[in-house]
Amino acid sequence: MIQVSHLSKKYKNNAEYSVVDLDLKIDEGEIFGLLGPNGAGKTTLISMLSSLIKPTSGSFSINGLTFQKNANQLKQLIGIVPQEYALYPTLTAYENLYYLGSMYGLKGKQLKEKINYHLEVLGLEKFSNKKLDTFSGGMKRRVNLIASILHDPKVLFLDEPTVGVDVQSKNVIIENLKKLNAQGTTIIYTSHHLNEAEQFCSKVAIIDHGRIIIEGAPQDLISQYPESHNLEDVFLTLTGKALRDHA
């Protein structure tokens, strides 16, 4: 489904590469977790895979398509849930979703039904006509998610979709993502919530300094390190306990 080959990215003003010669293969139907400390290169990798930034070198394809040759086809195939809310605060939830859904070519009754369905599933039907700037962080996260799945993407990229939300919102988001995955959507997500990733992902890759240092099913990784009880232990063993502040 997703084939990444020797992908690298170096930002203009950075001395070091953010992603270094990265190879990765993600199969259809997987829930793939990209885990790593701050500045490890997770967001850079997702941004490249979702056409937001240009790789310095290397290539990738999704379903055999590349952005260089099939940009619009590929954009129709994927959905991106960005880290920030990326919604219009003065528009209502419905208006935001109507506009963003329209950008995927959805219209009329079909679009309205999809919006109402997802609002209901994610517990927002009562707030559909409220402006986004009156929403809590958790509610905005849910609208952010709906905006990216209205067009039924085959691949969904999520950059820390549960950061800063309450437990209930997080639970609803994760449950919904599982449902989407069950319907055939491949999910690639980054998170700092390692317990969540352990429960949620079928496969994870721990990434540090722009390189994948380990990859596999969460339980397989835990079993590789006998002293580890969970994914967090594996993560700390591999990436160390030193702070990773960066500006």
Partner: protein, 422 residues
């Protein structure tokens, strides 16, 4: 098409939710055009209700000073205040209490008469009609100076018009004195009309007309197009802020991942902001036609010109929007777009001749002025309002405005493509 419609509707919603922004977009241009027109109205009126107070010091007390005084009084532009001392007048003007003081030197009338008489006698003697003028008498006469004191803050245009006016009056008095001197030398009968002292050459101003109605330019016909255009171009500030906001909110990033072209995104903005420009323009015309007469200003004459005026407004609006799209595409923050946009509009307005007519600018600035879209728009508006030209005569200016829109929009798209190429 549906994507363009959805983008347009979204822009409409965003704009309609910003009540403060909308008020600024529509109310401020109206306040601007009313204020400027009220201020500038006096410069277009032949009879000025607001007379400028000037100081008058007359050491001459003769015919010449009386003629100058009468000339100033007749102009009805000045409220003449008599002062006894030149130094007092000078002090008051230099302190900024008055804009102008005129000091007429002592014996101006008598010495002018004496000088003219001497010249006339000298001339007649050359023809053998008079005894030769003794050379000693010529050297006795000193040049006389009418002294003008101006407030240092006085504008050069006002200074020049005053100087020219007084110069003209003095010239006329000198000429009449010469005629009088000849008359007295040739005949003893003062009532005998030998010379016709009235000006032989006069001038007549012919203005364009529609049918039998003459088009007389007034402050409203000058100010409404100029400041409407200024307001139309100010649309680049809210438009660029709208685009920068999308970047900071992350919605622009989301749109880049959607299968929608940047042209469609810009198309939605263009449609809505063009509508704003046209509503602004309609309001300006409404103010000119209905409110200005109530405020004591001349009414804006638009009969038979509405389609041409809106056509110019559409193309001027497109040019302004193109510039706004470019600024919004390039700017990263509101701190970059807002001050730059506002200042740039002021520069374009200055270059375009909104404040100072292009023909009095230095040569280099006149050349630069040809590059300002506001100059093209202003010329097109003046063509309709004041020159009564046909639709075909507007084509050159409208083409330039449209090309400007196409060029700026194309640069925005290319810039965005290059910056975000994957």
């Amino acid at each position: 098409m549906h994507k363009l419609w959805a983008s347009t509707y979204k822009e409409f919603l965003l704009l309609s939710r910003d009540i403060g922004g909308l008020a600024i977009l529509f109310v401020m241009p109206l306040v601007l055009v009313i204020t400027i027109t009220l201020i500038q109205d006096s410069t277009f009126r032949s009879i000025n209700d607001n007379k400028i107070p000037i100081l008058w010091v007359d050491y001459d007390k003769g015919e010449v000073s009386k003629n100058i005084y009468d000339g100033l009084a007749e102009s009805q532009s000045f409220n003449i205040i008599d002062k006894e001392s030149g130094s007092e007048a000078k002090e008051l003007v230099f302190k900024g209490k008055y804009q102008l003081a005129i000091v007429i030197p002592a014996n101006l009338s008598s010495e002018l008469e004496k000088k003219v008489n001497l010249n006339v006698e000298g001339l007649l003697s050359k023809f053998g009609l008079e005894e030769e003028t003794p050379p000693s008498q010529k050297s006795d006469l000193e040049r006389k100076e009418v002294i003008l004191y101006f407030d240092p803050a006085t504008q050069m245009a006002f200074k020049n018009s005053i100087k020219n006016g007084i110069d003209k009056m003095i010239f006329k008095i000198e000429t009449q004195t010469i005629y009088k001197a000849f008359q007295s030398q040739i005949t003893d009968d003062e009532a005998e009309a030998i010379f016709d002292t009235e000006s032989f050459i006069t001038f007549k101003e012919i203005t364009p007309s529609i049918g039998e109605n003459e088009i007389i330019p007034n402050s409203v016909q000058h100010n409404v197009p100029a400041w409407t255009l200024f307001a139309i171009f100010f649309i680049i500030v809210p438009l660029s802020i709208n685009m920068v906001k999308e970047k900071s909110q992350g919605t622009f990033v989301r749109l880049r991942t959607n299968p929608v072209s940047y042209l469609t995104v810009l198309g939605g903005k263009t449609a809505i902001y063009l509508a704003v420009c046209l509503i602004q323009f309609g309001l300006m015309l409404g103010i000119g036609v209905y409110l200005f007469p109530i405020l004591g200003l001349p009414s804006l004459e638009v009969s038979g010109k509405i389609p041409q005026l809106f056509l110019v407004a559409i193309f001027a609006g497109l040019a302004a929007i193109g510039l706004g799209l470019l600024l919004g595409t390039i700017a990263r923050t509101q701190e970059q777009s807002a001050p730059f946009g506002a200042t740039f509009v002021v520069i374009l307005a200055a270059l375009g001749g909104v404040w100072v007519p292009v023909f009095i600018m230095p040569k280099f600035m006149q050349t630069l002025s040809n590059l300002s879209p506001m100059n093209w728009g202003l010329n097109a508006f003046y063509d309709v309002f004041l020159r009564d030209v046909g639709l075909m005569d507007l084509v050159p200016e409208l083409t330039l405005l449209f090309l400007f829109f196409i060029t700026t929009t194309a640069i925005s798209i290319v810039y965005n493509e290059r910056k975000n190429a994957v």
